[in-house]
């Protein structure tokens, strides 16, 4: 057979590869790449190009974003939500990953690591719904507190900004623990010992050695969390109620309630541009360190 490549062979082996590649990449083209291109095209239209409607090319959908400050404000609000959720995930997840990677040993480490990432494999919608039960007024927190405390309190976090934060942190925390754990586990303990025996304080070791070495994990986790949170709409809808209007929920509205698809496409495309900018910023850090 000639299929085995002699070292340094320059001729292309595209022909035998094509039948294996085509089905997968045609499918991706039909269901991902063409739709994304179509979305860009539609975002410049006045209306859907259906048989009975007239349409024209326009910049109006993008003008709408810049003319009314509503969309810009909501985009900022979603970006802030993304930053806050990411920050909380770092603050909660990094120490947890550290304990898993460097303190716990053997079977107990394996078991607890599994327990941390297990919820991540259950349906996201179901987890958000479980918070809805947990947080609602007259719900579980409320009853539990009133059973313990001598005075009446009323805790009703449901339909508030904190509720959205709590639900999202719960949904995305396992990502941060997972990515940080993988990088922390790769740090050689003897490096830490060497730094300590040379007189570095614990804080210095943490600041100058562990955090820099764990940076790829932190950045990867941050990107995996920030990007979907900025585009989230289901979590704010269920947990946020009236205070749950974000950029993602406005896009959802354009497609399922208002039926202004061209505007929805323009808003989606602006979000895509923001997401790509974030990925481009993170890429060098990830590439340099891995």
């Amino acid at each position: 057979m000639t299929a085995a490549p002699p070292p340094g062979a320059q001729h292309s082996q595209l022909r035998p590869a094509l039948p294996l590649l085509l089905p997968a990449y045609l499918w991706l083209t039909l269901a991902i790449f063409l739709p994304l291109s179509a979305m860009v095209f539609f975002s410049f239209m006045t209306d859907l190009p259906l048989a009975d409607r007239s349409w024209a090319m326009t910049l109006g959908n993008y003008a709408a974003f810049f003319e009314t400050d509503l969309y810009g404000r909501l985009l900022l609000r979603s970006l802030r939500l993304g930053l806050e959720v990411t920050l909380y995930c770092v603050l909660i997840g990094f120490p947890c990953a550290y304990v898993l990677a460097k303190v716990l040993k053997g079977r107990s480490r394996e078991a607890i690591f599994l327990l941390v990432i297990l919820p991540f494999w259950s349906n996201g919608l179901v987890r958000i719904f479980s918070w809805a039960i947990f947080l609602r007024g007259g719900g579980v927190i409320d009853s539990a507190l009133n059973a313990v405390l001598p005075f009446e309190v009323s805790v009703d976090l449901m339909y508030s900004y904190p509720a959205v934060i709590i639900g999202l942190v719960h949904s995305y925390l396992p990502y941060m623990v997972l990515t940080c754990y993988l990088t922390l586990q790769a740090i050689d303990d003897s490096l830490i010992e060497a730094a300590r025996s040379l007189g570095a304080s614990r804080l210095t070791v943490l600041r100058r050695l562990i955090v820099p070495l764990a940076m790829p994990g932190l950045i990867a986790g941050a990107v995996l969390i920030f990007v979907p949170v900025v585009g989230s709409f289901m979590e704010p809808r269920i947990l946020g109620g009236r205070s749950g209007t974000f950029y993602g929920t406005v896009i959802e509205d354009q497609f399922v309630a208002v039926f202004n698809w061209p505007l929805g496409a323009a808003l989606s495309f602006i979000l895509l541009a923001v997401v790509l900018a974030v990925l481009a910023l993170a890429a060098p850090v990830l590439r340099r360190q891995t």
């Binding site: 057979m1 085995a4 035998p16 269901a31 297990l118 719904f129």
Partner: protein, 263 residues
Amino acid sequence: MRLFPRFLNGAGQLYVGLVLAFLYLPIFIMVLMSFNASPFYQLPIDWSAGWYTALAGNSQLIAATWNSVTIALTTTAIATLLGTAASLALYRYRFRGKKLLQALLFPPIAIPWLITGTAMLIFFFAVGIGRGLHAILLGHVALALPYVIVVVSARLQTFAPELEEAARSLGASQWQVTRRVTLPWIAPGVIAGALFAFAVSFDQFVVSYFLSTPGQTTLPVEIYAAIRKGFTPEINAVSTIIIVLSMTLMLLTARYFRFGGEK
């Protein structure tokens, strides 16, 4: 020598315990409430399996569940087959543009599903594919394919190409080499890829949501509609069943692959 003194180890373990409580408490409460007869989640719990029997009579939810299972299994079969074939081609042959093809796998993973989902809705509508279960299947396979290719390719990296050459020099045909040498070696990767594909499809809400029509929905879409209409405790029951099923599946996978264990 450890970075922190020994007495802090206990604090660290306590901390991980608190994180676990945060992760599991709401889920635990939901499971408890699915056995509570009170539709307003009142305490103390009045034990009853009533919501489960109510669920058995809810034909809409049951139909949506079957749609979810069917679509997830079909997605798994198609995505695993096409994805494994593409991984083999990317591993075995050299050609121009291979780097580009590999890079093209990341946008579907990295772009938020809200954008992918709305883009599919627009495009499928424009070219006449429309909405419904077929559109959902089309979308799910595309979402699952990159995961399968990445996972199977990772496994192929550990494969020694000399094995294929040895089989060829002993007279095996390309198909025999693939079936008898390569596939058995990458089988764990293919199984992991298949599990990813199933999870991506079965848990998928966003893309299904934009592509579903009233009669043709999947379970997550149906649950979302029910939550927005108002809390119905039957959703607790069905959510409990889903959580138990997906966690069991994951535990079995973990036992098989030893995720998180030593390298």
